[in-house]
Protein backbone atom coordinates (compact mmCIF):
# COMPACT_ATOMS: atom_id res chain seq x y z
CA UNK A 1 0.00 0.00 0.00
CA UNK A 2 3.04 2.24 -0.06
CA UNK A 3 2.42 5.15 -2.39
CA UNK A 4 5.06 6.14 -4.90
CA UNK A 5 6.18 9.70 -5.53
CA UNK A 6 4.88 9.47 -9.09
CA UNK A 7 1.32 9.09 -7.84
CA UNK A 8 1.10 12.33 -5.95
CA UNK A 9 0.89 15.91 -7.10
CA UNK A 10 3.07 18.39 -5.19
CA UNK A 11 0.06 20.00 -3.56
CA UNK A 12 -1.27 16.69 -2.31
CA UNK A 13 2.16 15.60 -1.09
CA UNK A 14 2.60 18.92 0.70
CA UNK A 15 -0.80 18.78 2.32
CA UNK A 16 -0.24 15.27 3.59
CA UNK A 17 3.19 16.24 4.90
CA UNK A 18 1.60 19.06 6.86
CA UNK A 19 -1.13 16.78 8.27
CA UNK A 20 1.37 14.09 9.23
CA UNK A 21 3.73 16.64 10.74
CA UNK A 22 0.82 17.96 12.81
CA UNK A 23 0.06 14.51 14.17
CA UNK A 24 3.77 13.97 14.76
CA UNK A 25 4.17 17.15 16.75
CA UNK A 26 1.23 16.22 18.96
CA UNK A 27 2.81 12.80 19.46
CA UNK A 28 6.23 14.24 20.27
CA UNK A 29 4.60 16.45 22.87
CA UNK A 30 2.75 13.50 24.40
CA UNK A 31 5.83 11.31 24.48
CA UNK A 32 7.81 14.12 26.06
CA UNK A 33 5.09 14.56 28.69
CA UNK A 34 5.41 10.90 29.64
CA UNK A 35 9.01 11.72 30.51
CA UNK A 36 10.18 8.12 30.28
CA UNK A 37 13.72 8.06 28.85
CA UNK A 38 13.42 4.32 28.31
CA UNK A 39 10.70 4.87 25.75
CA UNK A 40 13.11 6.06 23.05
CA UNK A 41 15.28 2.91 22.92
CA UNK A 42 12.19 0.73 23.19
CA UNK A 43 10.67 2.59 20.25
CA UNK A 44 13.82 2.14 18.21
CA UNK A 45 14.23 -1.56 18.89
CA UNK A 46 10.51 -2.28 18.44
CA UNK A 47 10.54 -0.32 15.20
CA UNK A 48 13.36 -2.49 13.89
CA UNK A 49 11.47 -5.54 15.12
CA UNK A 50 8.29 -4.61 13.26
CA UNK A 51 10.34 -3.75 10.19
CA UNK A 52 11.96 -7.19 10.29
CA UNK A 53 8.72 -9.05 10.97
CA UNK A 54 7.31 -7.57 7.77
CA UNK A 55 9.72 -9.85 5.97
CA UNK A 56 8.28 -13.01 7.53
CA UNK A 57 5.70 -14.92 5.54
CA UNK A 58 2.76 -16.38 7.39
CA UNK A 59 0.92 -19.18 5.65
CA UNK A 60 -2.77 -18.48 5.35
CA UNK A 61 -4.65 -21.72 6.04
CA UNK A 62 -6.58 -23.06 3.09
CA UNK A 63 -4.80 -20.88 0.55
CA UNK A 64 -1.45 -21.00 -1.10
CA UNK A 65 -0.64 -17.45 -0.20
CA UNK A 66 0.89 -15.76 2.78
CA UNK A 67 0.29 -12.68 4.85
CA UNK A 68 2.22 -10.23 6.98
CA UNK A 69 2.02 -8.55 10.32
CA UNK A 70 0.28 -5.20 10.73
CA UNK A 71 2.88 -2.79 12.06
CA UNK A 72 0.78 0.14 13.18
CA UNK A 73 -1.66 -1.88 15.23
CA UNK A 74 1.11 -3.99 16.72
CA UNK A 75 3.23 -1.01 17.73
CA UNK A 76 0.41 0.96 19.25
CA UNK A 77 -0.79 -2.03 21.26
CA UNK A 78 2.70 -2.21 22.73
CA UNK A 79 3.74 1.43 22.95
CA UNK A 80 0.51 3.41 22.84
CA UNK A 81 -0.66 5.53 19.92
CA UNK A 82 1.79 8.41 20.24
CA UNK A 83 5.03 6.48 20.59
CA UNK A 84 3.64 3.96 18.11
CA UNK A 85 3.01 6.68 15.56
CA UNK A 86 6.51 8.16 15.90
CA UNK A 87 8.00 4.69 15.59
CA UNK A 88 6.00 4.02 12.44
CA UNK A 89 7.31 7.28 10.96
CA UNK A 90 10.81 5.95 11.53
CA UNK A 91 9.96 2.58 10.00
CA UNK A 92 8.38 4.18 6.94
CA UNK A 93 11.31 6.55 6.41
CA UNK A 94 13.91 3.80 6.69
CA UNK A 95 11.84 1.53 4.43
CA UNK A 96 11.60 4.28 1.88
CA UNK A 97 15.32 5.07 1.96
CA UNK A 98 16.74 1.57 2.15
CA UNK A 99 14.34 -0.38 -0.01
CA UNK A 100 12.56 2.28 -2.08
CA UNK A 101 9.27 1.15 -0.56
CA UNK A 102 7.29 4.34 -0.92
CA UNK A 103 8.90 7.62 -1.87
CA UNK A 104 10.48 10.63 -0.23
CA UNK A 105 7.81 13.00 -1.47
CA UNK A 106 4.97 10.58 -0.81
CA UNK A 107 6.24 9.95 2.73
CA UNK A 108 3.68 12.35 4.17
CA UNK A 109 0.93 10.39 2.44
CA UNK A 110 2.32 7.06 3.56
CA UNK A 111 2.64 8.20 7.15
CA UNK A 112 -0.96 9.31 7.09
CA UNK A 113 -2.35 6.30 5.24
CA UNK A 114 -0.56 3.70 7.29
CA UNK A 115 0.71 5.12 10.54
CA UNK A 116 -1.97 7.65 11.39
CA UNK A 117 -4.96 5.38 10.96
CA UNK A 118 -3.16 2.33 12.31
CA UNK A 119 -1.96 4.08 15.45
CA UNK A 120 -4.57 6.66 16.32
CA UNK A 121 -7.77 5.10 15.06
CA UNK A 122 -6.53 1.61 15.84
CA UNK A 123 -5.33 2.35 19.35
CA UNK A 124 -7.55 5.15 20.62
CA UNK A 125 -10.87 4.27 19.05
CA UNK A 126 -10.66 0.49 18.89
CA UNK A 127 -7.98 -1.01 21.12
CA UNK A 128 -8.43 1.07 24.24
CA UNK A 129 -12.24 1.02 24.40
CA UNK A 130 -12.26 -2.76 23.95
CA UNK A 131 -9.50 -3.27 26.55
CA UNK A 132 -11.07 -0.84 29.00
CA UNK A 133 -12.08 -3.57 31.44
CA UNK A 134 -9.07 -5.78 30.97
CA UNK A 135 -7.87 -7.94 28.13
CA UNK A 136 -8.79 -11.46 27.10
CA UNK A 137 -8.08 -13.70 24.12
CA UNK A 138 -11.40 -12.90 22.49
CA UNK A 139 -11.07 -9.19 23.06
CA UNK A 140 -7.58 -9.09 21.60
CA UNK A 141 -8.75 -11.06 18.58
CA UNK A 142 -11.69 -8.74 18.11
CA UNK A 143 -9.67 -5.55 18.54
CA UNK A 144 -6.89 -6.73 16.24
CA UNK A 145 -9.15 -7.81 13.41
CA UNK A 146 -11.42 -4.81 13.72
CA UNK A 147 -8.46 -2.49 14.02
CA UNK A 148 -6.54 -3.91 11.09
CA UNK A 149 -9.55 -4.16 8.79
CA UNK A 150 -10.83 -0.70 9.56
CA UNK A 151 -7.51 1.12 9.50
CA UNK A 152 -6.45 -0.64 6.31
CA UNK A 153 -9.75 0.29 4.68
CA UNK A 154 -9.18 3.90 5.63
CA UNK A 155 -5.62 3.72 4.35
CA UNK A 156 -6.65 2.18 1.04
CA UNK A 157 -9.38 4.73 0.60
CA UNK A 158 -6.88 7.49 1.25
CA UNK A 159 -4.55 6.04 -1.37
CA UNK A 160 -7.38 6.17 -3.92
CA UNK A 161 -8.36 9.64 -2.88
CA UNK A 162 -4.83 11.03 -2.95
CA UNK A 163 -4.16 9.54 -6.37
CA UNK A 164 -7.42 10.92 -7.72
CA UNK A 165 -6.89 14.39 -6.35
CA UNK A 166 -3.44 14.35 -7.85
CA UNK A 167 -5.05 13.87 -11.24
CA UNK A 168 -2.67 11.06 -12.16
CA UNK A 169 -5.03 8.42 -13.41
CA UNK A 170 -7.90 8.39 -15.84
CA UNK A 171 -9.41 5.49 -13.98
CA UNK A 172 -12.85 6.37 -12.63
CA UNK A 173 -12.70 6.92 -8.91
CA UNK A 174 -15.32 4.31 -8.19
CA UNK A 175 -13.43 1.65 -10.14
CA UNK A 176 -10.25 2.49 -8.30
CA UNK A 177 -11.96 2.35 -4.94
CA UNK A 178 -13.85 -0.81 -5.84
CA UNK A 179 -10.55 -2.48 -6.62
CA UNK A 180 -8.59 -1.22 -3.66
CA UNK A 181 -11.10 -1.76 -0.88
CA UNK A 182 -11.96 -5.47 -1.28
CA UNK A 183 -8.29 -6.42 -1.69
CA UNK A 184 -7.43 -4.61 1.49
CA UNK A 185 -10.42 -6.09 3.26
CA UNK A 186 -8.88 -9.52 2.82
CA UNK A 187 -5.40 -8.30 3.67
CA UNK A 188 -6.69 -6.53 6.77
CA UNK A 189 -8.46 -9.63 8.01
CA UNK A 190 -5.35 -11.77 7.68
CA UNK A 191 -3.09 -9.12 9.21
CA UNK A 192 -5.56 -8.85 12.06
CA UNK A 193 -5.36 -12.58 12.72
CA UNK A 194 -1.56 -12.62 12.71
CA UNK A 195 -1.34 -9.53 14.88
CA UNK A 196 -3.87 -11.04 17.30
CA UNK A 197 -1.89 -14.26 17.58
CA UNK A 198 1.24 -12.34 18.59
CA UNK A 199 -0.58 -10.02 20.99
CA UNK A 200 -2.39 -12.95 22.65
CA UNK A 201 0.98 -14.55 23.24
CA UNK A 202 2.28 -11.35 24.82
CA UNK A 203 -0.87 -11.06 26.90
CA UNK A 204 -0.34 -14.54 28.29
CA UNK A 205 3.41 -14.27 28.82
CA UNK A 206 3.96 -10.67 29.91
CA UNK A 207 0.57 -8.91 30.17
CA UNK A 208 2.16 -5.77 31.61
CA UNK A 209 3.72 -5.04 28.23
CA UNK A 210 0.39 -4.35 26.56
CA UNK A 211 -0.68 -0.74 26.37
CA UNK A 212 -4.01 0.65 27.46
CA UNK A 213 -5.37 -2.45 29.16
CA UNK A 214 -7.74 -1.65 32.00
CA UNK A 215 -7.23 2.03 31.32
CA UNK A 216 -10.18 4.36 31.12
CA UNK A 217 -10.05 7.35 28.82
CA UNK A 218 -7.45 9.88 29.82
CA UNK A 219 -9.27 12.59 31.69
CA UNK A 220 -9.75 15.63 29.50
CA UNK A 221 -9.67 18.88 31.39
CA UNK A 222 -13.11 20.31 31.01
CA UNK A 223 -13.48 23.25 28.73
CA UNK A 224 -9.76 23.27 28.10
CA UNK A 225 -9.56 21.40 24.85
CA UNK A 226 -6.43 22.85 23.30
CA UNK A 227 -6.19 23.83 19.69
CA UNK A 228 -3.94 20.89 18.93
CA UNK A 229 -6.29 18.45 20.62
CA UNK A 230 -9.19 19.87 18.68
CA UNK A 231 -7.31 19.31 15.47
CA UNK A 232 -6.58 15.74 16.45
CA UNK A 233 -10.24 15.14 17.26
CA UNK A 234 -11.32 16.65 13.96
CA UNK A 235 -8.73 14.64 12.07
CA UNK A 236 -9.90 11.44 13.69
CA UNK A 237 -13.52 12.25 12.87
CA UNK A 238 -12.56 13.01 9.29
CA UNK A 239 -10.71 9.74 9.11
CA UNK A 240 -13.73 7.92 10.47
CA UNK A 241 -15.98 9.60 7.95
CA UNK A 242 -13.60 8.60 5.20
CA UNK A 243 -13.62 5.06 6.47
CA UNK A 244 -17.38 4.85 6.49
CA UNK A 245 -17.59 6.26 3.00
CA UNK A 246 -15.00 3.77 1.88
CA UNK A 247 -16.95 0.89 3.37
CA UNK A 248 -19.98 1.99 1.45
CA UNK A 249 -18.00 2.51 -1.68
CA UNK A 250 -16.64 -1.00 -1.52
CA UNK A 251 -19.99 -2.51 -0.63
CA UNK A 252 -21.85 -0.81 -3.46
CA UNK A 253 -19.51 -0.07 -6.33
CA UNK A 254 -21.47 2.14 -8.64
CA UNK A 255 -23.02 -0.24 -11.11
CA UNK A 256 -23.33 2.36 -13.83
CA UNK A 257 -19.66 3.00 -13.90
CA UNK A 258 -18.81 -0.62 -14.16
CA UNK A 259 -20.55 -0.77 -17.49
CA UNK A 260 -18.76 -1.69 -20.70
CA UNK A 261 -19.25 1.73 -22.15
CA UNK A 262 -17.11 3.07 -19.41
CA UNK A 263 -14.31 0.66 -19.92
CA UNK A 264 -14.49 1.27 -23.66
CA UNK A 265 -14.01 4.90 -22.85
CA UNK A 266 -17.06 6.25 -24.67
CA UNK A 267 -18.61 7.75 -21.61
CA UNK A 268 -17.45 11.00 -20.19
CA UNK A 269 -14.48 11.15 -17.90
CA UNK A 270 -16.65 12.85 -15.37
CA UNK A 271 -16.80 9.44 -13.84
CA UNK A 272 -14.37 10.76 -11.32
CA UNK A 273 -17.23 13.03 -10.47
CA UNK A 274 -17.63 15.84 -8.08
CA UNK A 275 -14.79 14.77 -5.88
CA UNK A 276 -12.33 15.21 -8.70
CA UNK A 277 -13.67 18.62 -9.67
CA UNK A 278 -13.50 19.89 -6.14
CA UNK A 279 -10.09 18.38 -5.82
CA UNK A 280 -8.83 20.12 -8.93
CA UNK A 281 -10.29 23.32 -7.65
CA UNK A 282 -8.50 22.85 -4.35
CA UNK A 283 -5.33 21.98 -6.15
CA UNK A 284 -5.53 25.02 -8.39
CA UNK A 285 -6.11 27.18 -5.40
CA UNK A 286 -3.33 25.71 -3.33
CA UNK A 287 -0.85 24.78 -6.00
CA UNK A 288 2.61 26.07 -5.33
CA UNK A 289 3.38 26.23 -9.01
CA UNK A 290 0.06 27.39 -10.30
CA UNK A 291 0.59 28.28 -13.93
CA UNK A 292 1.39 24.94 -15.43
CA UNK A 293 -2.00 23.32 -15.76
CA UNK A 294 -3.24 23.87 -19.30
CA UNK A 295 -6.74 24.67 -18.35
CA UNK A 296 -8.91 25.06 -21.38
CA UNK A 297 -6.41 24.71 -24.11
CA UNK A 298 -6.28 21.63 -26.27
CA UNK A 299 -2.61 21.88 -27.14
CA UNK A 300 -0.60 20.17 -24.47
CA UNK A 301 2.48 21.96 -23.22
CA UNK A 302 5.67 20.26 -24.23
CA UNK A 303 4.26 17.49 -26.36
CA UNK A 304 5.38 18.32 -29.82
CA UNK A 305 7.39 15.84 -31.82
CA UNK A 306 10.23 18.27 -32.33
CA UNK A 307 10.19 18.98 -28.62
CA UNK A 308 10.66 15.33 -27.78
CA UNK A 309 13.50 15.01 -30.27
CA UNK A 310 15.12 18.10 -28.79
CA UNK A 311 14.75 16.64 -25.31
CA UNK A 312 16.41 13.41 -26.35
CA UNK A 313 19.29 15.34 -27.86
CA UNK A 314 19.80 17.23 -24.60
CA UNK A 315 19.81 13.97 -22.68
CA UNK A 316 22.27 12.37 -25.10
CA UNK A 317 24.65 15.31 -24.78
CA UNK A 318 24.42 15.14 -21.00
CA UNK A 319 25.21 11.44 -20.97
CA UNK A 320 28.26 12.10 -23.14
CA UNK A 321 29.36 14.95 -20.91
CA UNK A 322 28.92 12.84 -17.79
CA UNK A 323 31.09 10.05 -19.13
CA UNK A 324 33.71 12.60 -20.19
CA UNK A 325 33.58 14.17 -16.73
CA UNK A 326 34.00 10.80 -15.07
CA UNK A 327 36.84 9.88 -17.42
CA UNK A 328 38.83 13.02 -16.73
CA UNK A 329 38.11 12.88 -13.02
CA UNK A 330 39.44 9.34 -12.72
CA UNK A 331 42.42 10.21 -14.89
CA UNK A 332 43.24 13.09 -12.60
CA UNK A 333 42.98 10.79 -9.64
CA UNK A 334 45.35 8.30 -11.23
CA UNK A 335 47.83 11.06 -11.90
CA UNK A 336 47.62 12.14 -8.30
CA UNK A 337 48.25 8.62 -7.14
CA UNK A 338 51.10 8.15 -9.59
Amino acid sequence: MHMADALVAPAVAGTMYVLSAGAASVSVKKVREENDPKKIPVMGVMGAFVFATQMLNFTIPGTGSSGHLCGGMMLSAMLGPYAGFLTMIGVLLVQCLLFADGGLLALGCNIWNMAFYGCFVGALLIWRPIMKKGASRVKILLASILGCVLTLQMGAFSVSLETMISGITELPFSVFVATMQPIHLAIGFVEGLITAAVLIFVHEARPELLWGVGQSETPVKEGKLSFKNTIVVIAILAALAGGIVSLFASAFPDGLEWSMEQVAGTAELEAAGGAYDTATAIQDATSLLPDYAFKNSESAVGTSFSGIVGALVVVAITVGACYAFRFFKSKKKEEQVA
Binding site: H2, A4, D5, A6, V8, A9, P10, A24, V28, P37, I40, P41, M43, G44, M46, A48, F49, A52, T53, M55, L56, N57, F58, I60, L86, I89, G90, V94, L97, L98, A100, G103, L104, V159, I168, T169, E170, T179, L193, I194, A197, V198, A264, G265, L289, Y292, A300, V301, G302, T303, S304, F305, G307, I308, A311, V314, V315, T318, V319, C322
Partner: protein, 259 residues
Protein backbone atom coordinates in the same frame (compact mmCIF):
# COMPACT_ATOMS: atom_id res chain seq x y z
CA UNK B 1 18.00 -17.14 -1.55
CA UNK B 2 15.14 -16.10 0.71
CA UNK B 3 13.67 -12.64 0.53
CA UNK B 4 15.16 -11.88 3.93
CA UNK B 5 18.63 -12.71 2.72
CA UNK B 6 18.02 -10.55 -0.33
CA UNK B 7 17.10 -7.65 1.90
CA UNK B 8 20.17 -8.18 4.05
CA UNK B 9 22.35 -8.22 0.96
CA UNK B 10 20.74 -5.07 -0.33
CA UNK B 11 21.48 -3.41 2.99
CA UNK B 12 25.09 -4.64 2.76
CA UNK B 13 25.50 -3.23 -0.71
CA UNK B 14 24.10 0.14 0.29
CA UNK B 15 26.43 0.35 3.26
CA UNK B 16 29.39 -0.43 1.03
CA UNK B 17 28.35 2.33 -1.33
CA UNK B 18 27.95 4.78 1.53
CA UNK B 19 31.48 4.01 2.68
CA UNK B 20 33.11 4.76 -0.67
CA UNK B 21 35.42 7.71 -0.90
CA UNK B 22 33.68 9.57 -3.70
CA UNK B 23 33.24 13.31 -3.75
CA UNK B 24 29.47 12.88 -3.89
CA UNK B 25 29.59 10.96 -0.62
CA UNK B 26 31.38 13.77 1.13
CA UNK B 27 28.93 16.51 0.15
CA UNK B 28 26.94 17.91 3.06
CA UNK B 29 23.94 15.65 3.72
CA UNK B 30 21.50 18.53 4.10
CA UNK B 31 22.20 19.77 0.59
CA UNK B 32 21.81 16.30 -0.87
CA UNK B 33 18.58 15.62 1.00
CA UNK B 34 16.99 18.90 -0.02
CA UNK B 35 18.20 18.48 -3.59
CA UNK B 36 16.63 15.03 -3.84
CA UNK B 37 13.33 16.20 -2.47
CA UNK B 38 13.32 19.27 -4.69
CA UNK B 39 14.12 17.18 -7.75
CA UNK B 40 11.23 14.82 -7.06
CA UNK B 41 8.99 17.76 -6.30
CA UNK B 42 9.75 19.43 -9.62
CA UNK B 43 9.49 16.14 -11.48
CA UNK B 44 6.02 15.29 -10.25
CA UNK B 45 4.86 18.86 -10.78
CA UNK B 46 5.02 18.45 -14.57
CA UNK B 47 1.72 18.15 -16.33
CA UNK B 48 0.77 14.66 -17.39
CA UNK B 49 1.26 15.56 -21.07
CA UNK B 50 4.58 17.37 -20.66
CA UNK B 51 6.67 14.55 -22.03
CA UNK B 52 9.52 16.49 -23.66
CA UNK B 53 10.69 18.53 -20.65
CA UNK B 54 10.23 15.48 -18.47
CA UNK B 55 12.66 13.62 -20.72
CA UNK B 56 15.17 16.39 -20.12
CA UNK B 57 14.74 15.90 -16.38
CA UNK B 58 16.57 12.59 -16.86
CA UNK B 59 19.84 14.50 -16.83
CA UNK B 60 19.98 14.57 -13.03
CA UNK B 61 19.63 10.80 -12.40
CA UNK B 62 21.89 10.15 -15.39
CA UNK B 63 24.54 12.45 -13.97
CA UNK B 64 24.19 10.84 -10.55
CA UNK B 65 24.53 7.32 -11.87
CA UNK B 66 27.30 7.93 -14.38
CA UNK B 67 29.45 10.36 -12.45
CA UNK B 68 28.56 8.73 -9.14
CA UNK B 69 29.52 5.36 -10.63
CA UNK B 70 26.33 3.65 -9.54
CA UNK B 71 24.81 0.60 -11.15
CA UNK B 72 21.71 1.26 -13.27
CA UNK B 73 20.71 -2.35 -12.72
CA UNK B 74 20.57 -1.85 -8.96
CA UNK B 75 18.65 1.37 -9.36
CA UNK B 76 16.07 -0.13 -11.65
CA UNK B 77 15.77 -3.22 -9.45
CA UNK B 78 14.58 -0.91 -6.70
CA UNK B 79 11.49 -0.10 -8.77
CA UNK B 80 9.97 -3.48 -7.97
CA UNK B 81 8.10 -2.47 -4.83
CA UNK B 82 6.29 0.56 -6.13
CA UNK B 83 5.89 -0.58 -9.70
CA UNK B 84 2.67 -2.62 -9.28
CA UNK B 85 0.64 0.30 -7.96
CA UNK B 86 2.13 2.72 -10.50
CA UNK B 87 1.31 0.36 -13.34
CA UNK B 88 -2.19 -0.26 -12.02
CA UNK B 89 -2.80 3.45 -11.87
CA UNK B 90 -1.30 4.23 -15.28
CA UNK B 91 -2.11 1.26 -17.44
CA UNK B 92 -5.72 2.25 -18.02
CA UNK B 93 -4.96 5.78 -19.17
CA UNK B 94 -4.67 4.78 -22.86
CA UNK B 95 -8.15 3.26 -22.69
CA UNK B 96 -9.83 6.27 -21.24
CA UNK B 97 -7.98 9.16 -22.80
CA UNK B 98 -8.00 8.64 -26.55
CA UNK B 99 -7.61 12.17 -27.81
CA UNK B 100 -4.76 12.37 -30.27
CA UNK B 101 -2.37 14.99 -29.01
CA UNK B 102 0.81 14.07 -30.84
CA UNK B 103 1.59 12.87 -34.34
CA UNK B 104 4.78 11.04 -35.14
CA UNK B 105 5.28 10.23 -38.83
CA UNK B 106 1.57 10.28 -39.42
CA UNK B 107 0.73 7.99 -36.50
CA UNK B 108 -1.39 9.61 -33.85
CA UNK B 109 -0.48 9.10 -30.22
CA UNK B 110 -3.23 9.55 -27.68
CA UNK B 111 -3.10 11.59 -24.54
CA UNK B 112 -3.51 8.40 -22.51
CA UNK B 113 -0.33 6.91 -23.88
CA UNK B 114 1.58 10.12 -23.18
CA UNK B 115 0.21 10.40 -19.66
CA UNK B 116 1.08 6.76 -19.00
CA UNK B 117 4.63 7.43 -20.20
CA UNK B 118 5.03 10.53 -18.07
CA UNK B 119 3.73 8.65 -15.05
CA UNK B 120 6.26 5.87 -15.58
CA UNK B 121 9.06 8.41 -16.05
CA UNK B 122 8.08 10.16 -12.84
CA UNK B 123 8.14 6.82 -11.07
CA UNK B 124 11.58 5.97 -12.43
CA UNK B 125 13.09 9.35 -11.74
CA UNK B 126 11.91 9.51 -8.16
CA UNK B 127 13.22 6.04 -7.34
CA UNK B 128 16.55 6.67 -9.09
CA UNK B 129 17.12 10.01 -7.42
CA UNK B 130 16.30 8.57 -4.00
CA UNK B 131 18.82 5.83 -4.76
CA UNK B 132 21.47 8.43 -5.57
CA UNK B 133 20.79 9.99 -2.19
CA UNK B 134 20.98 6.81 -0.14
CA UNK B 135 23.93 5.39 -2.07
CA UNK B 136 26.01 8.46 -1.22
CA UNK B 137 24.59 9.37 2.21
CA UNK B 138 24.35 7.20 5.30
CA UNK B 139 21.18 7.17 7.38
CA UNK B 140 23.16 8.76 10.20
CA UNK B 141 24.05 11.66 7.93
CA UNK B 142 20.46 11.98 6.81
CA UNK B 143 19.49 12.06 10.48
CA UNK B 144 22.03 14.83 10.99
CA UNK B 145 20.34 16.77 8.18
CA UNK B 146 16.94 16.12 9.74
CA UNK B 147 18.15 17.59 13.01
CA UNK B 148 19.26 20.73 11.17
CA UNK B 149 15.75 20.86 9.70
CA UNK B 150 14.43 20.83 13.28
CA UNK B 151 12.87 17.40 13.17
CA UNK B 152 12.36 16.55 16.88
CA UNK B 153 15.15 14.50 18.43
CA UNK B 154 12.67 11.84 19.57
CA UNK B 155 11.96 11.00 15.94
CA UNK B 156 15.56 11.27 14.75
CA UNK B 157 16.98 9.04 17.50
CA UNK B 158 14.28 6.46 16.83
CA UNK B 159 15.20 6.48 13.13
CA UNK B 160 18.88 5.93 13.98
CA UNK B 161 18.02 3.05 16.27
CA UNK B 162 15.65 1.46 13.78
CA UNK B 163 18.38 1.59 11.19
CA UNK B 164 21.01 0.18 13.56
CA UNK B 165 18.81 -2.66 14.77
CA UNK B 166 17.16 -3.49 11.48
CA UNK B 167 20.27 -5.40 10.42
CA UNK B 168 20.39 -7.25 13.75
CA UNK B 169 16.68 -8.07 13.61
CA UNK B 170 16.78 -9.11 9.97
CA UNK B 171 19.56 -11.57 10.80
CA UNK B 172 17.39 -12.91 13.63
CA UNK B 173 14.41 -13.17 11.29
CA UNK B 174 16.57 -15.11 8.91
CA UNK B 175 17.69 -17.54 11.62
CA UNK B 176 14.14 -17.99 12.84
CA UNK B 177 12.73 -18.77 9.41
CA UNK B 178 15.64 -21.04 8.52
CA UNK B 179 15.25 -22.98 11.76
CA UNK B 180 11.52 -23.18 11.11
CA UNK B 181 11.84 -24.26 7.49
CA UNK B 182 14.33 -26.98 8.35
CA UNK B 183 11.76 -28.56 10.62
CA UNK B 184 8.78 -27.84 8.38
CA UNK B 185 10.16 -28.36 4.88
CA UNK B 186 6.82 -28.54 3.12
CA UNK B 187 5.52 -25.17 4.20
CA UNK B 188 6.27 -21.97 2.33
CA UNK B 189 5.55 -19.80 5.33
CA UNK B 190 4.86 -20.01 9.02
CA UNK B 191 1.93 -22.23 9.99
CA UNK B 192 -0.88 -20.43 11.77
CA UNK B 193 -0.42 -22.50 14.93
CA UNK B 194 3.09 -21.06 15.31
CA UNK B 195 2.19 -17.44 14.53
CA UNK B 196 1.78 -16.37 18.12
CA UNK B 197 4.55 -18.28 19.84
CA UNK B 198 7.22 -17.83 17.21
CA UNK B 199 6.83 -14.10 16.72
CA UNK B 200 5.72 -13.55 20.31
CA UNK B 201 8.84 -15.04 21.78
CA UNK B 202 10.95 -13.06 19.40
CA UNK B 203 9.08 -9.94 20.45
CA UNK B 204 9.76 -10.59 24.13
CA UNK B 205 13.43 -11.16 23.37
CA UNK B 206 13.45 -7.87 21.50
CA UNK B 207 11.90 -6.09 24.47
CA UNK B 208 14.70 -7.51 26.64
CA UNK B 209 17.19 -6.23 24.11
CA UNK B 210 15.57 -2.81 24.25
CA UNK B 211 16.07 -2.89 28.01
CA UNK B 212 19.78 -3.68 27.56
CA UNK B 213 20.17 -0.97 24.96
CA UNK B 214 18.57 1.51 27.31
CA UNK B 215 20.85 0.50 30.16
CA UNK B 216 23.87 0.68 27.90
CA UNK B 217 22.92 4.23 26.94
CA UNK B 218 22.20 5.19 30.50
CA UNK B 219 25.55 3.89 31.72
CA UNK B 220 27.30 6.09 29.21
CA UNK B 221 25.58 9.25 30.32
CA UNK B 222 22.48 9.29 28.08
CA UNK B 223 20.11 12.03 29.13
CA UNK B 224 17.65 11.97 26.26
CA UNK B 225 19.69 13.24 23.35
CA UNK B 226 22.42 12.10 20.98
CA UNK B 227 25.00 14.70 20.23
CA UNK B 228 26.28 14.26 16.72
CA UNK B 229 29.53 14.78 14.95
CA UNK B 230 29.44 18.06 13.10
CA UNK B 231 29.89 18.31 9.37
CA UNK B 232 31.96 21.11 7.98
CA UNK B 233 30.48 23.08 5.13
CA UNK B 234 32.47 23.84 2.01
CA UNK B 235 31.50 25.98 -0.97
CA UNK B 236 30.66 22.94 -3.09
CA UNK B 237 28.18 21.79 -0.46
CA UNK B 238 26.09 24.82 -1.33
CA UNK B 239 27.02 25.20 -5.00
CA UNK B 240 26.23 21.63 -6.04
CA UNK B 241 22.59 21.56 -4.95
CA UNK B 242 22.10 25.22 -5.88
CA UNK B 243 23.25 24.71 -9.47
CA UNK B 244 21.08 21.64 -9.90
CA UNK B 245 18.13 23.42 -8.37
CA UNK B 246 18.59 26.22 -10.87
CA UNK B 247 18.75 23.75 -13.77
CA UNK B 248 15.50 22.12 -12.62
CA UNK B 249 13.81 25.49 -12.48
CA UNK B 250 15.08 26.39 -15.96
CA UNK B 251 13.67 23.15 -17.35
CA UNK B 252 10.44 23.62 -15.46
CA UNK B 253 9.76 27.20 -16.48
CA UNK B 254 11.78 28.02 -19.62
CA UNK B 255 12.63 24.87 -21.47
CA UNK B 256 9.02 23.75 -21.22
CA UNK B 257 8.07 26.68 -23.47
CA UNK B 258 10.67 25.95 -26.11
CA UNK B 259 10.19 22.21 -26.42
Amino acid sequence: MSSIEKNIRELDKLQNLQQRSHWMNSLHPLGKLLLSIFYIFVTVSFDKYSLAPLIVMAIYPLFGFIVGELSFKEGIYRMRLILPLVIFVGIFNPFFDKRIILEVAGIGISGGVISMLTLMLKGFYSVLSAYILIATTSIDDICYALRILRVPKQIVIVIMLIYRYFGVMAAEADRITTAYKLRAPKQNGIHYKAWGTLVGQWLLRSMDRAEDVYESMLLRGFTGDFSMRKHKTAATDILYPAIWGLIFLVIRFFLIKIL
